[in-house]
Structure formats: C-alpha cells, structure tokens
Symmetry: C2
Subunit: 438 residues, 2 copies
C-alpha cells in the first residue's frame, strides 16, 4: 500500500508536473481503450477472460519468479509475516486467480440489462439500460491476486481498468499485467484496457485521485488509512470499501446454541477480514447462561477478550482470562482474534451502542422473537443486517452476486458487496416518432 511507504521524497514542482502529465496520459490511454471494450459482446468478453486464464496458467514460472523477487525484497525489509503472506503468489494461488477469471466468464453480462422500461402515455418508449462506467481505477495494497480479480471484473463489465497496487508487489504486478496485456493485443484489443500505474509513489496516487474526466470511479481497497486518504483527497468519484466494526447482539430470547455458534463463527472463521465480528453485545437477561458458555468457547478458539465489568465478573466465574475494555475497544476494528464484549440493558441499548460505535458494515442479532428481529432490522443503519446468521455472510459470493470487487460501506451507488452490476452505470434510452414537448 502506497501510504505505508517508509519514505516518499516530495518531488519538486517540475517533477510533479511531469508526473501528473504521465499519470493523466496513462489514464487517457485507458480511456481511449475503454471505447474498444465498451461494445464487446458477452461472447467476446468471456473468450477474452478464458484466454487470460490460460495465459496466466502458462506463465506460471515467469510470475512466480517475479513474485520471488518481491518476496526477497520484502524479507530484507523485515516485513511482517502477515503482509508477506498476502504478497505471496505461488503456483497454487496463481491457478486460483486464473480459475477466478473462468468463473467470471460463466456469469451473466451486466451490460445491456434493462433496469426499468415502459411505454409512456405519449407513446415514448423508455428504457433505463446498464452500460459500462468507462475507466475503473483501483488503489490497493501489495496483494497480487487483486490485480487479476480487478482486471477481470472491470473487463467483464465492459470497462478499462487502471491498477495501482502496493509497491511491494511491483514485480509481480508487472508480470501479471504483461500477461493480461499480451492477451488483449493477441485478440485485437488495445493493451491499455489494463494499465498498471507503478511509478511515482504517493504523488502518483494523488494525481490519480484528481484525474477528473479520466477516471469514472476509483475504488480503494485496503486499510482504514488508505481509504481515508483516498476519500479525503479525491475529486473523482470514489466508492469506499471495507471498514468493518461488526457487532453480534444476543437478544434475551436467543437460542443459546445458535448464539454461541454464530458468535464463534463471526469472530474466528476469518478474523482478518472486514465482515468478522469485533464486538459482542449481550442482553443482560441472558448474560449469565450465555456468557458462561460463550466465553470458554471463544477462549478455547484463541480469542482474546476485552470486556466490560459485568462480563468480567462472569469470565472470572468461568476461569477465562480477560482484559478490561475501554472506548478504544468499542471503536476497534481488530482484524485479529480479539473481541470486545459488553452486557447491555436491552435491545434499545444495543442499538444505541451500534449507532455510536458501528461502521455501518454488518450487524447481527440472534433472537427467537420476531418483534425483536423486526426492531433490530429497522433500527440498524448498515449495509447488511443478519438475523440468526453469522456476520461472515456479507460477501458477494455468499449472497449470490457471483463475484465481488469489494464491500462498500458508503450509501451512494453501492452498499454492501459489490459485484459486476456495481461496475456499471445506466443510460436512459428514449425512442419516439418525432416527439416534442408542448
């Protein structure tokens, strides 16, 4: 991720002007290429994706070698193991990326879908139809699989793509993009339908964020710092993704078996992702029986517990180690095997807590009471609300979108998992017989 580069020399004004020209020229080439991608039929796009998948499979040695270079540099820089793991692209992971392109090819084409349509009283025929955005830009961390995913999603939805991956993955991304661009050219399409921006440090990202007229939508994927920097600095349209402070609320009427299973799954199934639970709220009427079962289960799963006083007393009874929680815990996106736990007076108190501390991503209630479920759904303002289900279901694949380019936590355009349709816009096509307004 560019915002974590340890040093980033401030370019002189002349250098910066030249860099801006380079970035805009690259985006301009993508814009020009977008015109060639826009009219492609589903058949042509699917054939392109399948050819890219085959080319990635064939280029495994080249890509893995490039990745080895990136891994060496990262190791010398004493990069954290979790980041090195994200950076690693071995033969198996590359094959999975190629397979992802084949799965994209199997999905319906969002372009051309008629969203609304009718014949008006005056005989005008009106259709609101999905069309490509144009140029989709992605800014993301050193995760090479995102390079292939983003290119595939953008092309399938009829767009060109400008990719800005983390500097630590530079060699891997160059190798991947070289393969994808070669396939484009072989199929008579402009290479610049996939553009890699890999120069210029943070300054280049700044120019990309302000490339109005060149970039139709910019999607940052990464940590809170990256997303905040992009949202605050951008003048091009942005879709915010992925900050998740998700809560599981266990209601007085909850089925306790379900509540334990949902809590453990929401926290531990994949703790490093945005739809993992970060806080557990428990109705006081059920706090004793529930927490006496849930705390040992979480503890056994390796979860570190940050708890309020009421929970702390129950944890002591159960012989489970805890840390007292403070406001930093209620506002934490741990992305780790940590969980904040609080006992609340009732459902309204849970809603108030979520309103104060939640990030609008995913909130879950476990309850057998239909009125409580209804009140929770009505009272929570989030991208997704789970009733008796794990927070982990907020996922494009799980919800039947077939693919996912990120999870939006904003309210405009896309909220929750974004699939292919979210990479399109619409045009109203109005057909008349010489109609004029009177």
């Amino acid at each position: 991720m560019t915002t974590t580069l340890p040093t980033d020399v401030q370019p002189t004004s002349t250098q910066d002007t030249a860099l801006r020209a380079d970035v805009l020229a690259a985006c301009g080439r993508a814009r020009e290429a977008a015109r060639a991608v826009r009219p492609l039929t589903r058949g042509a796009k699917d054939a392109l994706l399948l050819a890219m998948a085959a080319a990635l499979d064939a280029a495994v040695d080249e890509v893995v070698a490039a990745n080895a270079t990136d891994l060496e540099v990262a190791a010398r820089a004493q990069t954290r193991e979790s980041l090195i793991d994200r950076l690693r692209l071995d033969a198996g992971r590359l094959a999975a990326s190629a397979q992802g392109l084949r799965e994209l090819a199997a999905l319906p084409d969002p372009v051309g879908e008629v969203v609304r349509g009718q014949r008006l009283a005056n005989g005008l025929e009106v259709r609101q139809t999905r069309v490509p955005m144009g140029v989709v830009a992605m800014v993301y961390e050193a995760r090479p699989n995102v390079t292939v995913d983003a290119a595939g999603l953008a092309l399938k939805s009829g767009n060109a793509v400008v990719l800005r991956g983390g500097a630590a993955a530079a060699q891997t991304n160059r190798a991947l993009v070289r393969v994808l661009r070669t396939v484009l050219v072989e199929r008579g399409l402009p290479a610049d339908a996939v553009v890699l921006l890999d120069q210029g440090g943070r300054a280049a990202v700044r120019h990309l964020m302000t490339a109005r007229g060149y970039v139709d939508v910019l999607i940052p994927r990464g940590g809170a710092e990256l997303i905040t920097a992009v949202v605050e600095g951008s003048t091009v349209p942005v879709i915010e993704t992925g900050i998740g402070i998700c809560h599981v609320y266990v209601d007085a009427s909850a089925d306790l078996d379900r509540a334990v299973a949902i809590t453990v799954n929401s926290k531990t199934h994949r703790p490093g992702v945005c739809n993992a639970a970060e806080t557990l709220l428990v109705h006081r009427d059920v706090a004793g029986p529930f927490l006496r079962r849930a705390l040992p289960a979480l503890d056994a799963a390796g979860v570190r517990l940050h708890v309020d006083a009421a929970t702390g007393a129950l944890a002591a009874d159960a012989g489970v180690a805890i840390t007292p929680a403070d406001d930093a815990d209620w506002g934490a996106e741990y992305l780790s095997l940590d969980l904040a736990v609080a006992v609340v007076d009732d459902l309204d108190a849970a809603l108030a807590h979520i309103r104060r501390w939640g990030s609008g991503h995913t909130e879950a209630i476990v309850t057998q009471d239909q009125s409580a479920a209804r009140a929770f759904v009505a009272g929570v303002d989030a991208a997704a609300v789970m009733v008796n289900a794990s927070t982990r279901f907020t996922d494009g694949g799980e919800l039947g979108l077939g693919a996912e380019i990120g999870i939006s936590t904003q309210k405009l355009h896309a909220r929750g998992p974004m699939g292919l349709a979210e990479l399109t816009t619409t045009t109203w096509v109005v057909t008349g017989e010489g109609h004029v307004r009177s």
Copy 2:
C-alpha cells in the same frame, strides 16, 4: 447562490472554528431527527406532506411578505431580471409548491421496496431493501421553490434535510421553513427534520461539504461554478447535477419535418434549463435541404446562430444572420436562445464531436435508419439518449419518475433524472436459522 456573493469576509480562525461547530451542531440535530423520520409509514409521511401543503396555503401572506423583502434587497442590488424572476414567490407559485407536496403524497413510498431477493441454496433468505439515506443536504441558488420541493422529496423518502439556499432568498426561505417546521412539531415530529442553514456565507458551505458522518449525501443544484466548487471541496458524498451541453444530431436518413420540429423544440422550449440543446450537428448529405428549412425556423424563433463555415454558406443563401463559431461555442452551455451549428461528415464524426464537447447529459439523434440509431445509442456515453425525440424529455416528470430532485450527470448512484428512489440507499437483510460459514 453563495458562490456569487460579491464579498465574503474571510473569518478569523476562531470565528471559523465556532462556525464549523455551529454547522456540525445543526447537521447533528438533523441526524438525530432523521431517526424519527426513518421509521415513518407511508401513511404518516403522506399525512405530513398534506398538512405542510395546507399550512403553506394558509401562510401565503406571511411568505409573500417575506419574499417582498428579499425582492426589494435584490432590486436595490441591481440584480439581473432573470435572477429576480427565480427569486419571486407570489401566491400562484406558492400554491404550485403546495400542490407539488400533494403530488408527492400521491406517489408510492420508495422505502421498503425489495430491490432483489432470493432464498439461497443453504436456506438463507436474502432481501436487498430500500432504506432512507439519513440526512440529505441541498446547496442551491436563490430559488425558494427548491426549498419546498427538496424538503418534500427528502421527507417522503424518509430522510431529514439540511437546506442551504442562496443568500438572496434568506427571508423567504426562513418563512417557508418556519411553516414546515411548525407542521412537524404539530405532528409530534422533531422540527430539525428540516434544517435551514442561513448563516456564515461561503465558509458555512465549506463546513457543510466536509461534515463527514453528519451528511449522507450532498446535492448541489445551480450553475457550473457552484457545482464545481462543491465537487472539488467536498469530502461528503456528492451527486453532481445539471450541466447540460446537449446535442441534436440530424442523420442523413432523418425525416426532415421531425428533424426541424425536434431541433426547434430542443432549443427553444425552455432555453434556460440543462436539457435544452446547445449544439446542432448535421450530416453533410442532408445539410442543404435540412438547414435551408431549419435555419429560418430557428431564426424566426429568435435563436442566435453560431455556425461553422459550411453552415454559414447555407445561412447566407437563406438570408439568415449568423456568427462564426469557435471552440468556445462547441463547449458552451449557453442556457439562452443561442445555438451552435456544425455540419459533420458522418455519424462517427458526430460521435467524435459529442465525445469531445458533450457533458454526458442528453444526446439526440433524428434518423429513420435503424442501424444509425443503434450505433448512436451504443456510441454515446450520456445520461440519456433520445432517438427521434426532443432533448427536453430528460426530466423526472416526463420519464415517469413522478418527481425530480435534479438531473445527475455523474455515473455513480444516479444518472439522469433523480426521483424518490435516488434519495434512498439499501440494506441487505439476511435471515437464517443459526447459519454459520464453514
């Protein structure tokens, strides 16, 4: 419109800090009030709108008197007549605003609409449901009718609204908002569901544009300068509205009667609005017969013609006065009885011209050739494409949306006329029976 204030004293840093606190406090009150509006049933919302309409009717003397004060100030400031006309709110116009609220009440409620829904293979029930945005903010010029429209649209879609109208309409807006807030309180709702921000000049707008966490969407309505300032300065989500450099392209195969009627209607029906045509493009094969009819018809309608050399020669034949056009004309949003005219070699040349100079609002083709219509629709990247119809049909009322808060020229969230649905977002509601991910 605040950006046209002749002088705007830069506040000291302390004053600015206090102003920011005031603006955020006002937005915070709207945010709190939004929680009371959000769960209202359609019945409650419609009754509220009808009561507001009645209260506006009853307050006609008070509102017209307040407007008279604004008109006097504007007259003393030697404001242009067109701006004074926008500012004027007489009894007839106020009655029309009240009637607009009654028409809103008759429209379906967008909140609760299930956009997508299915039962997944694992039994999870998934519904993507429309919910209110929360707080909608509008920044607009000195047009008091927008105050009532925006409040009505926001409330009908379950939102609170923060209104920032042009300073020239301050007294009128205060009178209108006093009436609307009184009705809210009479019906047991928080007055702050409708907040008027009428202090602080441009600095207040800047604080509104950066009120992240308080404002869910900001919609600027006004001229290019206002919209650019809002888009570039905002960190809250923005929907751009309304810059329209719309083209009518008359194809070689056009029915010339229709082409003349559509051209004249697109230009002259209401020249001051964003869906009026600004440029006429004519295929060279039909330039002679078409322009010999169209130029006199436009001239007779009072249209000033800014034309290329080929058109100039035909205008001379027809005895019609012209001005030679340059790049400033191709890029002009005249918003007046001016029209740029060019002869083009073919449909591709028309598309290239539109790509270079268009604003992505509305583009029209007049043709009898199905292939040409198809190529134009595919080749134009705009909010609306008209085939054998006037550009003036890009309008929420005309396209059957029932109401319109503006016309979006951006690609995210809303493109083209925005109605009630565009003031909502969605929540994925997922219901299970203890489902966890494996």
